[in-house]
């Protein structure tokens, strides 16, 4: 049931991403709601399906996007692993962990895209990419991270309710 819920949630988030969030632009950056959601879910201590979320997101985004499938999947798994690692290390400051994970995740996905474009023969200036795409994307991801973080705390409480101590 948990796995089914994870796949369904990622699917809905991906629909929102390609239908709505990819059209919300700040300069040339767009928010990545799937990435932020995967991180927010992985940073919940009680959650047991964070890896399922990461893999499902990687598979689905890799399927939809023109970026290489394997690179996207590896990127999402790495981001999930990083968020889980931070959750164990800085568990007392979840918001800080969230912001650091988003920064890491956005830079990693941008790095994957830049490497892919470079190998594809596209000519571009990294400085231009940084100021026009990467920085606005980081800002947008940070902006949507707070509501998603609190939403996913409630979601985790609903999915994994605390058992009363006898």
């Amino acid at each position: 049931m948990d796995k089914l819920l994870a796949i369904l949630s990622v699917f809905i988030l991906l629909m929102l991403q390609i239908g709505i969030f990819s059209n919300l632009r700040l300069l040339h950056g767009t928010p990545d709601v799937v990435l932020v959601a995967v991180i927010a879910w992985a940073l919940n201590e009680r959650v047991k399906t964070s890896w399922i979320w990461g893999i499902a997101a990687g598979v689905m985004v890799g399927f939809v996007s023109a970026l290489p499938f394997g690179a996207v999947l590896a990127g999402y798994i790495a981001i999930t692993g990083f968020a889980r690692y931070l959750q164990k290390r800085v568990w007392q400051t979840p918001l800080l962990a969230m912001f650091i994970s988003i920064l890491f995740g956005t830079l990693l996905m941008a790095g994957i895209a830049i490497v892919d474009l470079t190998f594809g023969g596209a000519a571009f200036e990294v400085q231009n990419a940084f100021s026009q795409i990467i920085l606005p994307t980081i800002l947008l991801n940070l902006m949507i991270s707070l509501p998603i973080h609190f939403l996913f705390i409630d979601f985790a409480d609903w999915a994994y309710p605390l058992k009363d101590e006898a």
Binding site: I18, H28, G29, A66, A110, G120, F124, I133
Partner: protein
């Protein structure tokens, strides 16, 4: 001789007075007198009427408020329903206008077969310029087919599933289109960028470019049909030290508000890679 009675005199006198008054009134001499007499009466009547209406309202308002509130709710519901209908009809009108424009475009080029599709999404990566359409291989769409709108060239099919397809826009950084400048009568290469800007490259230095020059697809390379509108030249960058000059192009299609596109179904790109000579080892 018969003496007339005093009653007849009174009647006659009254008649004379009445006739006199009528004549005075008809000639307008009585206006000021009537006004002076009636103004206080009208004022009193107005005062009485307003007080009566105030008392009437005071007595009847509680009943009216209930009925008015009920009526207000009904009207508000009706207004919201009508507003929803207006929004729906406006949306349908926009879609109809869009489809009519596409239909006109298709009619102007009867030699092509078109498949109309709606744009349902965009690539999640902000570095890439791809859109997702709601028709796929089940509808006859194949890899490499050109995609256009009534405004001009959009891109080409990059990947296909049974019910959907991914379109690489000409503004994508990996896209390259062979184009022809209408006024300058020269060929060039149009390439996209990560920010979606279009740049013309490989234009010889001796060609004089002008702002506003129309850019059309040339058909060279057999990836896109010829003579499809691509955009308009907006600025030229020319350095004497460079082999070629470059120029910026304003695309004819607004890629940020793409809603529906036409896929040219009877155009099959030709793979000319085997014909390109490779350098001997």
């Amino acid at each position: 001789m018969k003496i007339r009675s005093p009653r007849n005199w009174q009647t006659g006198l009254l008649l004379l007075v009445a006739i006199g008054l009528l004549l005075l009134a008809a000639s307008g001499y009585l206006g000021s007198v009537v006004k002076t007499t009636l103004d206080p009466l009208v004022g009193v009547q107005r005062w009485l009427s307003s007080r009566y209406l105030a008392v009437y309202d005071f007595v009847t308002v509680p009943r009216d408020v209930a009925s008015l509130r009920q009526r207000n709710i009904e009207l508000e519901n009706q207004a919201s329903q009508l507003q929803a209908q207006v929004v729906q009809l406006q949306q349908q009108l926009r879609e109809a206008q869009l489809l009519y424009a596409l239909l006109d475009f298709a009619r102007e080029r009867p030699e092509n077969e078109y498949i109309a599709a709606a744009v349902v999404g965009r690539d999640p990566s902000p570095f890439l310029h791809y859109v997702i359409i709601d028709h796929g291989s089940d509808d006859g769409i194949r890899h490499g087919m050109p995609v256009v709108t009534d405004q001009g060239l959009v891109g080409r099919i990059d990947a296909v599933t049974a019910g959907a397809a991914r379109v690489q826009l000409i503004s994508d950084s990996n896209s390259a289109v062979n184009v022809h400048l209408k006024n300058s009568q020269t060929d060039a290469l149009l390439s996209g960028s990560i920010t979606g800007d279009l740049t013309l490259e490989m234009i010889p230095q001796d060609i004089i470019l002008q702002q506003g020059d129309l850019v059309l697809s040339s058909g060279l390379g057999a990836n896109y049909p010829a003579d499809v509108m691509v955009g308009q030249l907006i600025s030229v960058r020319k350095k004497e030290t460079d082999l070629f000059q470059t120029a910026s192009v304003q695309p004819a299609v607004d890629f940020t508000s793409l809603r529906a596109v036409l896929v040219i179904a009877n155009f099959r790109p030709v793979d000319i890679a085997p014909l390109i000579p490779t350098p001997a080892p």
